[in-house]
Symmetry: C2
Subunit: 502 residues, 2 copies
């Protein structure tokens, strides 16, 4: 028994950009809408060029398109690879097994590998709606994926993407779980570790819920959107790279899940592990150091949670052939001074150049992590990694190596400066007792980070520092007046972001 | 500190219907997009006519609109009450406390009345995105709302809507928890109970995840989309009504949550209780009988769940001044024969007219419930309700009364018949051992119910009935060939929907 013959309309581009969402536009009077009883927001299958996708219907009332025409959002037009006049075929959306799996998970059932693969496949192809993806992300939030599910999800995510392999071994890597503004150690670690001869092809992500991801910050300094051929050239030339992983389809499922998690500001243990490990596996990494900052306003708030996540990362990694080592770090305050791509880039350049005013906390963290990676990759014997890392930095070899990597990626760029700045002053004297990472991150985001590269927060005090009344606590940097004022509104509503005690 | 002065664009209608979602269209080159760095899918505040709403941004690339223009989806245009040329003001979306509350709930925190009110307010005003609503619905799924939260959510939902009051007392009501296809007792119960002099102004909902809600079925027989003035007239005239509650803004929050729950096929104990009780409280009901079908493929699957839900309905009702009585009923198979608005309307007319071929199970259930309501409303002494109900039906008084109500609502209509039918036959002989309510409901929905009024399933056998090989088990009714074939595909893939044993 086959489906009814699909019905057809001519494609007319309208040029509407809906980002990743697939939208189809049909005239209210068209025969398909009328015959099939399609209403606005219905989801239906659109085919052309031997490709099919599922799109959300918007109904056009008026003369924007004819009754024998249909339009598609730019994303859907690209996915089908069509031009004006192409004949589009429409049919009812298939019943999705993945939607039932999502529902089962919402109600607390455990999903097996096949069910998770079905969800991941349909997420990547756009068959599952954003509502279903939001339900899935929510149903997995916190600790609602067990170890088997996490392993299966990781495998499923690796299976839908590209997978790199490298000629030299071991391939080392480093990843930060995040949640700590300004913690931009990666470019420094890559420079040190590859200067010492290890292979470290680093693929990073853009910000999920933070004011900057490593890829956002690195993009200030050099191109990061390289294809696989270009990355291989950079890595062959220098032993390392610091590029954006999203352009390579290494874990397209992760990109889809992140698109949903970002506006919801949600993370889950299981998805975090699957997200990290799927990207590491896809990137061909073999030994990975994970920086896991712990603090009351970091992503991981206490030692118990950190231990649980740590053990999950190590166990799932081991099951999938990845040697994982976790470093718990201090997450009580931002690292360095800058929060936002441009300001963080400034900080890490100061460290690499061994400037006198370089933020020492950022330098020490990067050295600690680099030392661990050197030992993990057998480039230093146990206990000697840190001193090798320090020597590599102070000798200028790390800075040379960083410039070589930037050149290979397309050339070192100047750090942009924000045209608009506003200093937030201490209303009283005292000693800094707490700094709220989340509120500072929110202010940086409202100021425009990471889209506005120069925007963000420049933190001018650290925990335990004495502060005079009217002394600047932090500066808000912005590129647009609306954003500056908006960030400032929020900052003024949250005077306790930096607390002082007498 | 005020926000930056809002920036303005001229409104140009495009006539795009996105259903309830608010969408704003701006040209990629317009000064607001460029100055504020807005990207597609960003959410922003749009104001005109002293009204403000939050809309999702779609970017227009091309000449559909000018760079000094913006367009809005029809829903947003209506909500702002504007016409071509009106000046629209744009600003960044405010930080929503309700989004933080949703996140807290996702991570298992308990929400208080104020937090739930914030969520409900922002859901109704469209400030919370559909993704956030999906996360909220998912976070409440199953039993994840406690008794206090359920009470608070119910109160919050009543607070954002209209609330009716009536001159006569007690005001009785009846509600079915649903999940049982064809269980269309309400119109019969209203006819019997109001014929006996009780006041029963019944507001019903449309289908959530089922092939028909009472409002969908009743709409086949009479207009149900009445305003409050019209309803008062009908109730004053007849003592009852059977109308759609959604048109009266009795529980607009429920309508929003249902719009999200429907595509996700999700329900939760707490939201179910809040949905039912908020509508009953808003409708001015004082004593409510709740029909709770229990069966392996009904919404409530076992006695333990039924008891839990029942006790929650009674307790939350009592806290809010509503006397609730729950009747657990047999949910192992559909009630009557028809599944879908038109087919169910046919069944209930047969019962009211005391036709010889009327489905006896539907008649007996309606009589049982009507008897209970008569006793609950003090129109019958304990133990005498059923016989009073039966007498009212068999004497023809219920049918007279039903016609009076339909006339008052706008006139009794003829039941439409589907042009396309397909009989599904038994592949072997045997006795009917199980009937899957969910699969039958799905087939009826794929056939077009409830949008296509005449579409659905006509069930031709009941549990324990003997069946010959090739005997028809059920008929699929459809209005469009695509829908018939689509339903049939699914039916053929699920031959066990009706199981036979030797």
């Amino acid at each position: 028994m086959s489906l009814a013959p699909p019905t057809c309309l001519r494609f007319r581009p309208l040029g509407i950009d809906t980002s990743a969402e697939y939208v189809v536009y049909m005239h209210a009077g068209c025969h398909i809408c009328r015959a099939e009883g399609f209403a606005a927001q219905a989801r239906l299958a659109v085919s052309a060029n031997q490709r099919t996708l599922i799109a959300t219907l918007n109904i056009v009332r008026g003369d924007l398109i004819g009754i024998d025409e249909a339009s598609l959002s730019i994303s859907a037009q690209r996915a089908l690879g069509i031009r004006a006049g192409t004949i589009l075929h429409f049919s009812h959306m298939p019943v999705l097994a993945s939607a039932s799996h999502v529902r089962a998970k919402v109600f607390g059932q455990t999903l097996d590998r096949a069910a998770l693969q079905a969800i991941v496949d349909d997420a990547v192809s756009g068959r599952l709606s954003d509502l279903h993806l939001a339900a899935f992300v929510t149903a997995c939030a916190g600790e609602r994926l067990d170890l088997d599910e996490t392993t299966s999800l990781t495998e499923a995510m690796v299976a839908v993407g590209e997978r790199l392999s490298w000629d030299r071994h071991p391939v080392v890597d480093k990843h930060c779980v995040g949640g700590l503004p300004g913690n931009r150690t990666t470019p420094i670690v890559v420079a040190i570790v590859t200067a010492c001869g290890l292979l470290m092809p680093k693929t990073s992500s853009r910000a999920i819920t933070s004011p900057a991801g490593t890829a956002d910050t690195m993009e200030v300094l050099a191109p990061v959107d390289l294809d696989i051929t270009a990355i291989r050239r950079v890595v062959n030339q220098t032993g390392g790279c610091i590029v954006w992983g999203g352009g390579m389809q290494l874990s397209p499922a992760d990109d889809v899940l992140i698109r949903i998690e970002r506006p919801l500001d949600l993370d889950s243990d299981g998805q975090l592990v699957a997200s990290i490990l799927s990207k590491k596996l896809a990137a061909g990494s073999e030994r990975v150091l994970i920086d896991l900052p712990v603090g009351p306003t970091a992503k991981v708030r206490d030692a118990i949670t950190a231990q649980r996540l740590s053990s999950r990362l190590i166990t799932v990694g081991a099951r999938l052939g990845l040697q994982v080592q976790v470093r718990l770090t201090d997450g009580r305050q931002p690292v360095g001074r800058g929060i936002g791509p441009g300001l963080e880039a400034r900080d890490l350049l100061q460290v690499l150049r061994c400037d006198a005013q370089a933020p020492q906390d950022l330098a020490e963290r990067a050295l600690d992590l680099a030392g661990q990676v050197l030992e993990l990759g057998d480039a230093a014997t146990p206990g000697t990694g840190l001193s090798l890392a320090r020597h590599t930095l102070t000798s200028g070899r790390a800075w040379q190596q960083f410039q070589a990597i930037c050149d290979a990626q397309g050339g070192l760029r100047a750090v942009p400066q924000a045209p608009l700045r506003h200093l937030v002053l201490a209303s009283q004297a005292g000693k800094v007792s707490t700094i709220d990472n989340r509120v500072l991150a929110r202010i940086a985001k409202l100021a425009g980070a990471p889209q506005s590269k120069a925007a963000g927060v420049d933190l001018l005090v650290k925990l335990a520092e004495p502060v005079e009344q009217q002394q600047p606590l932090y500066a808000i940097h912005a590129e647009a007046p609306g954003e500056l004022q908006y960030a400032l509104c929020y900052a003024l509503a949250h005077p306790n972001v930096i607390q002082l005690e007498n």
